[in-house]
């Protein structure tokens, strides 16, 4: 048994049986961080002391018989979720010294379960990017091949889980930021339905698209973490007051009676042959497991999703990021008496290239004379995209696509070509536009590099996609492969 490779449910069993203590598990992860961090740079902050004190407390809880499935288990939080007293930087110079006075709801919920917070994960600045190269601090490297990107924006979270720096992580997903790095690092990543998990304390990027979710080593762990973080929160007005099921109850290996659709528009030009081959094999496996598969589903507005997303997300971002004015918190340019110069230079020096690009794009799309042609038009096409999914889900229980059209690309390959970078999310961003749940899971390798499969569910249909994912996982070995690091 290699301690840092344990899943949540494996570690929980050992903790409960008193064959492992939370302090031992936490130390194993901290040692793993020392070992791999110089090669992969997944973390912005390592919270050694906090982690060990939380681990000691967890061991006391366990001794007292008070144990939740997450008690004593080390977790890494993406650095855009507020952690009281621990810097929350969004991997931006703007928030480099920001220490939140409160916890995000998801962090509060994990703490109430007796979690052990071991660090904060690197990300693309303000979650804008698909490679974690847009971090203002340093790029994160893919553990399967350190010359390649881990995906983004939750690249640090995905790498931390893939390498065993923590047992699981939280990420956020606005256009694929949990699923695409999960696919690139061969871990499981779930974007819940919009409204399923509270966004209170998540630094806002695009408020109608953002959603927090788990990154884990397997599907069972994914269900366990979703159980802990899902649910209504009156501090988030877009949190939906629906009851939360026990997501571990839907994990069965039989797919008989399920109808699964394969939307052909997701097998796009530019898709790598090894990705397509792996996906077709995975879909055949689901057929063997009893699912009825329709290979010829059509969602004709899919090709417009990229433009819709890159109008709506930057528009919302330009409004959300207007708050960074250097007055209440964050970087603040001081060397002037002019309020306007202070504002402009605070934002000039506080934001990186990609954030500036999105603010400019969004401001343009919302500006007088262009609002109807861009923002309003995008919102109307958003309606058509959602309607198309609703129609598909009247016939199918789940849809299946690749997570990304390619295997992980080289560091530096797309960083100066924004449009090419944006295309990396072409399979994931329609799901945020429609507000649906989707999971990415390991589905094979091409030349030693991970390939992810995306399962899409109907609104609040997380149970169905977890069930399909679990059945596939139990019938395959991909999730057991560990990166050579």
């Amino acid at each position: 048994m290699i301690t840092h490779q344990l899943t949540i449910h494996e570690a929980h069993r050992l903790l409960k049986a008193r064959q492992l203590s939370s302090v031992e598990l936490t130390k194993a992860c901290l040692e793993r961080i020392q070992e791999v961090e110089p090669k992969i740079h997944a973390l912005v902050t390592i919270t050694n002391e906090l982690a060990l004190s939380q681990a000691k407390k967890a061991d006391q809880l366990i001794t007292g018989g008070d144990i939740h499935p997450l008690t004593g288990i080390p977790v890494i939080i993406k650095d855009n979720m507020c952690t009281k007293g621990i810097p929350t930087t969004c991997s931006s110079r703007m928030l480099q010294n920001f220490v939140p006075p409160y916890d995000a709801t998801v962090v509060e919920k994990l703490n109430n379960c007796g979690a052990v917070i071991i660090g904060k994960a690197n990300m693309d600045e303000f979650a804008m990017g698909s490679s974690t190269e847009h971090s203002a601090f340093f790029p994160t490297h893919n553990p399967w091949d350190p010359s390649r990107v881990p995906g983004g924006s939750s690249g640090g979270s995905a790498v931390a889980v893939a390498t065993g720096e923590a047992v699981y992580a939280l990420g956020s997903d606005t256009g694929g930021s949990i699923r695409q790095p999960a696919g690139f690092c061969s871990v499981v990543g779930l974007k819940p339905t919009y409204g399923r998990v509270s966004r209170y304390g998540l630094v806002a990027f695009a408020s109608s698209l953002d959603q927090i979710g788990p990154l884990t080593k397997d599907v069972t762990d994914c269900a366990i973490v979703l159980n802990a973080i899902a649910g209504y929160d009156n501090r988030d007005s877009t949190s939906v007051p629906y009851p939360t099921p026990d997501y571990t109850q839907c994990l069965t290996t039989d797919l008989k009676g399920l109808n699964i659709g394969v939307p052909k528009e997701y097998f796009v030009t530019g898709m790598q042959a090894e990705v397509e081959t792996a996906l077709r094999a995975a879909i055949s496996k689901l057929e063997q497991l009893g699912a009825r598969v329709d290979w010829e589903v059509s969602l004709p507005h899919t090709p417009y999703a990229l433009a819709v997303y890159y109008i709506i997300a930057p528009s919302e971002a330009s409004a959300n990021l207007a708050r960074y004015d250097g007055v209440k918190y964050g970087f603040s340019y001081q060397d002037t008496d002019s309020i306007w110069e202070a504002l402009e230079k605070t934002r000039q020096f506080g934001f990186g290239d990609e954030v500036k690009r999105r603010i400019m794009l969004g401001t343009y799309a919302l500006s007088a004379g262009y609002y109807d042609a861009y923002y309003l038009k995008a919102q109307k096409v958003r309606t058509l995209i959602r309607q198309e999914f609703d129609q598909a889900f009247s016939k199918f229980d789940a849809l299946i696509t690749p997570t990304s059209p390619t295997v992980p690309f080289k560091i530096g390959e797309k960083v100066d070509d924004p449009l090419q970078m944006y295309l990396s999310d072409v399979c994931t961003l329609p799901i945020n536009i429609a507000g649906l749940p989707a999971i990415s899971m390991p589905a094979g390798f091409g030349n030693g590099l991970p390939i992810g499969m995306q399962l899409i569910g109907k609104p609040f249909g997380e149970e169905t996609i977890l069930r399909v994912a679990y059945a596939y996982e139990q019938a395959t070995e991909w999730h057991k492969r560990k990166p050579p690091i």
């Binding site: 919009y194 409204g195 939906v240 433009a307 290239d353 309606t383």
Partner: protein
């Protein structure tokens, strides 16, 4: 749709974003490319299609008007770049 330098400066001014000359030139090229790519959207027939602002069936969410604790002032001011006693300090708006 090619943006000119004045348009880039106008948008930057709306966003209160300072830019160097090199950034202005680069953004002019990149934003023009991206916007050109988005022209494809105009082909979609959206007559009689209502816009979607968000995807959940909730409207006009309000909460009860109840007194609750706020953060203590010291914590609210803890991250302030400039403060003066109990206040955030800002530069003069009117000269």
């Amino acid at each position: 749709m090619k943006l000119n330098r004045e348009e880039v400066l106008h948008i930057a001014r709306l966003a209160r974003l300072g830019l160097t000359d090199a950034e202005i030139n680069r953004l002019r090229e990149q934003l023009s490319d991206i916007l050109e790519n988005f022209e494809a959207l105009q082909q979609v027939d959206t007559s009689n299609v209502p816009p979607t602002a968000q995807s959940i069936p909730l409207q006009n969410v309000t909460r009860g008007d109840e007194v609750a604790d706020s953060l203590p002032q010291s914590q609210v001011l803890a991250n302030a770049p400039r403060k003066d006693g109990e206040y955030f300090r800002v530069r003069a708006v009117l000269e």
